[in-house]
């Protein structure tokens, strides 16, 4: 049942120009910076070899590219996720879901899988870009995999936050700005106190940073599922309470 809702959600997302614009925007900006980084790397490669530096193309091109992508999506996801529930509430179509034989969990899960599918598709061009370096050089595949996984999980957190904000209101733009605000604040946690403050562990930026350095901490194994699950459960509660009160 969630898959049916997710399929419809994907179709609606791609029926609006918003998703396409966002994907084109991300691809163009990332491609530009990526090429810039590659040419920079080519210019300084000789010096690095002379210095016997341990950093290679993976650290100097791939990881900054992925970091930039996450940063861009921080601004884009809120505007993709804002319509998930808020728009249905505004248009009165939420009733169709509520009166159908689908549980609240099914509805929330379907919506979440829909946006996650869309974001995964949007990541494909970026993944192809960094993987294209395989044609010219050797990459650290372990680091690359950990970086891509980190990026994907970061977007998954963004989407969960966006979905929850969208359940709170009937105005999509309000949901978008609330999501953006929360994500920005959380992102900035990682920079306070040199990234070692008590809150920095909560920030997706800190987590992504360590994954981009190829450090797969076992606490990450818990961090992402717990944060995502928490926001999904909150969304379910929120929708349920809407049914209970008037």
């Amino acid at each position: 049942m969630p898959l049916i809702i997710a399929g419809k959600e994907l179709r609606s997302l791609f029926a609006s120009p918003l998703a396409w614009t966002a994907m084109v925007l991300v691809t163009v900006i990332v491609a530009w910076v990526f090429l810039e980084l590659v040419s920079q790397h080519l210019d300084t490669q000789a010096e690095l070899v002379a210095l016997n530096s341990p950093t290679g193309v993976t650290d100097r091109v791939v990881m900054p590219t992925l970091n930039l992508t996450a940063w861009l999506f921080l601004f884009i996801v809120p505007f993709l996720s804002m319509r998930l529930i808020a728009d249905e509430r505004r248009a009165g179509t939420l009733v169709l879901l509520f009166s159908s034989p689908v549980s609240m969990t099914g509805i929330v899960l379907g919506k979440y899988l829909g946006i996650l599918g869309m974001l995964t598709l949007a990541l494909l061009p970026v993944a192809c870009m960094v993987c294209s370096l395989y044609f010219g050089t050797a990459l650290d595949s372990g680091k690359l995999a950990s970086g891509l996984l980190g990026l994907w999980l970061t977007l998954a957190v963004f989407a969960a936050v966006g979905l929850f904000m969208s359940t709170l209101t009937g105005t999509p733009t309000a949901a978008a700005f609330a999501t953006l605000g929360l994500l920005l604040v959380a992102w900035l946690f990682s920079t306070t106190g040199d990234g070692i403050g008590p809150l920095s562990g909560l920030s997706p930026a800190t987590r992504l940073d360590s994954l981009l350095r190829g450090v797969f901490d076992s606490s990450d194994l818990f961090y992402y599922p717990i944060v995502i699950l928490a926001f999904l459960v909150l969304s379910i509660w929120r929708l349920d309470s809407e049914r209970l009160q008037s």
Binding site: I4, S12, G92, T93, L96, S100, P101, S103
Partner: protein, 302 residues
């Protein structure tokens, strides 16, 4: 199906049953609690007390099988303008747990019943209001539910569309249980077999409409006489059970003569030279009942 409901001022005591093959008219003034009740019936609002039972399932305890037996058209049809009619109905059918191989057939059938076969490839955004309303009805019947609940389905439509939708509702009533909410008396009288009037959140009147129309209650006629006799003369006529003057030469008369009543009165009027200018049967009359109940309750409260 049963429900009692108490505690919240919006709807404080509504209870009724509906069987397959009945069309239940749900009548009430604006704000009487019709939509709230319907939202509770369809599970998009939880009642604070009481229960909804659909088939053998209590909606609150087993929402999934209970909701699968309900089709609901809210006041504003829940349409996705960016989808085509076919895509939308396909989605609605899947949501209502129509098995994947049966979906196409179900969608075709719903389109056929709602006269949408030629519009399946059109975007819902591009349809007129009347067609959107039909799509709304189609999504409510696409999974062949036992109960179809329609909340004011003819609001905002032109008279021809209204006729089409009423005909559709009547045909639905043959093999589904239909609940039709409306504040239009004529609509209820035209299509429903039963009526439930709610006022101030309570059910105040329930009746079988086919009985209400029986001649046992007598035929009510409205007359306009240019040279009227005293009311007492009219009361003493054969077969007249009651007569009242409405002023200005107009009278309302109850007659026990069945179909022949009008003929008898016209003949008498001619013979006596009362100069009959208009005569009209007044179907006895949901309107009277409705106005008595709703206005009566208000003046009583005041």
């Amino acid at each position: 199906m049963r429900r009692d409901y108490a505690g919240v001022p919006a709807v404080s005591g509504v209870s009724f049953e509906l069987h397959r093959g009945q069309v239940l008219g749900f009548l009430g003034a604006n704000g009487a609690g019709k939509s709230t009740t319907l939202r509770m019936l369809t599970g998009s609002l939880a009642p604070t007390a009481g229960e909804v039972r659909v088939g053998g399932f209590v909606l609150q305890d087993q929402p999934i099988p209970a909701k699968a037996m309900i089709g609901y058209l809210p006041e504003h049809p829940p349409l996705y303008p960016e989808l085509t009619v076919g895509e939308y109905l396909r989605y609605a059918a899947r949501l209502r747990r129509v098995a994947a191989p049966a979906v196409s057939e179900a969608v075709d059938l719903a389109c056929q019943r709602c006269d949408l076969l030629d519009h399946r490839r059109q975007l819902i955004r591009h349809l007129s209001k009347g067609f959107q309303q039909r799509v709304g009805i189609a999504q409510a019947i696409v999974h062949n539910p036992a109960i179809v609940i329609l909340d004011e389905p003819t609001v905002g439509l032109d008279p021809i569309q209204i006729r089409g939708i009423r005909r559709l509702i009547q045909s639905l009533g043959q093999d589904h249980g239909v609940i039709l909410s409306s504040h239009l008396l004529g609509e209820i009288q035209a299509v429903c077999s039963h009526v439930l009037i709610i006022h101030g959140g309570r059910s105040v009147y329930a009746a079988d409409l086919t009985e209400l129309d029986q001649p046992s209650a007598g035929v009510t006629l409205l007359l306009h006489l240019a040279a009227p006799p005293p009311v007492d003369t009219l009361r003493q006529l054969d077969g007249v059970t009651a007569a009242e003057s409405l002023g200005d030469g107009r009278f309302r008369m109850c007659h026990s003569g069945g179909d022949a009543s009008a003929e008898v009165l016209v003949r008498t009027a001619c013979e006596q030279g009362w100069r009959l200018t208009a005569i009209q049967t007044e179907s006895r009359s949901l309107e009277q009942v409705f106005i008595e109940l709703t206005l009566g309750a208000e003046t009583h409260a005041a």
